[in-house]
Amino acid sequence: MGTLSSDLMNERAETVSLPLADRRSAFVEEHLKRIFVLVYRVVGNVADAQDITQEVFIKALQREEQLRDSARAAQWLSRIASNAAIDFLRRRGRAPQTPIEESQEISDGSRSANPEKLLLTAESHQLFQDALKSLTPRERLALVMRDVEGAPAEEVAQALGCSKATVRSHIANARVKFRKFLRRRIQTVKVGNSAPVVD
């Protein structure tokens, strides 16, 4: 029985010895979901997130020398994705975000799930996405990378191309705005619930 590190080394050696097409496929498989979710959280809609994610991977796979070290490749990919998402929002200006078209994204597998639970999940995800919209693109990225993905501040700084102090400022702003948004939403719900019902 091999140790964990030797198992990892064997796995890595197998990955390196794979043909180019298979290596590319494995690389996309490994990082696609993480990068898509990151971009989706920042741009706020599926179609744009899909386009940006595809562009990011095509760009990355064209410079395969950067992908040899898996850990560094993951960070590098996050950086390209962050820049692409911010550039996209900058190009588009401050136009209002398109809400998620839930009906198009319902998977077949989810039909058997508990509808009430599904509704709660959908509501919480929608609430999260709405809260993100109250932040600037850089604050959004900082919050998603630091608090959702759990990346260290240094990695966020690298992805955003700024200092750690600036990242700290983005994170603080994002958390304060996020809390403010949630408190406002709770107040709205309370007022809505206490309103007199007219028959």
């Binding site: 996309v28 979710v37 991977f57 304060v176």
Partner: protein
Amino acid sequence: MRLTRHHILALLAGGDAAWWQRLSARRNPQPEDPAVEEEFRRIREQLPEFRDLPPYFAWDSLSAEMKGNILLGVEAGEVVRSRPSGRAIGWRAGFALAVLTLLMLVGYWGQLPVHVHDSDSGPQTPLLQATPGQLAARHRDAGFSVLFHESGASLELSGAVGGVRADFVDEETGQLTVAHVYLD
């Protein structure tokens, strides 16, 4: 940007505050601080839940579509990049080609008839030259010149028989100097 107390509490909740921020928060504590910090902490603890997409998301079909597009895009890019440049030659082949070209050039110059050009021995026919600064006569290796201190447009007579003249007026003294060279 100057951070407010709530900003610092938000940073403290995630363990992101710098030492001076921690110090300033602990030095002047406000009664509501623990509750606010705790609220930031609770919100933060829930956020990793959104690391994944919601369960209603049709991820399988979307990822399959994206993966196909990405691999196709990469291959298409490679085809486009390789087309205009054609097949590049290696450095060894390039070096050999350069040496061969050099040898051919040396051989070509070696085959050319030697042309004796006696450019250093001066003009073959007598040459008279007059400028505001000088008067000169040259023939083959021999020659002489009368120099003034100015220079300007010149007049050259090649193969002529006769003479040339140059006048020079000294601006300070007004003295006129006339130089005349005859050629037989």
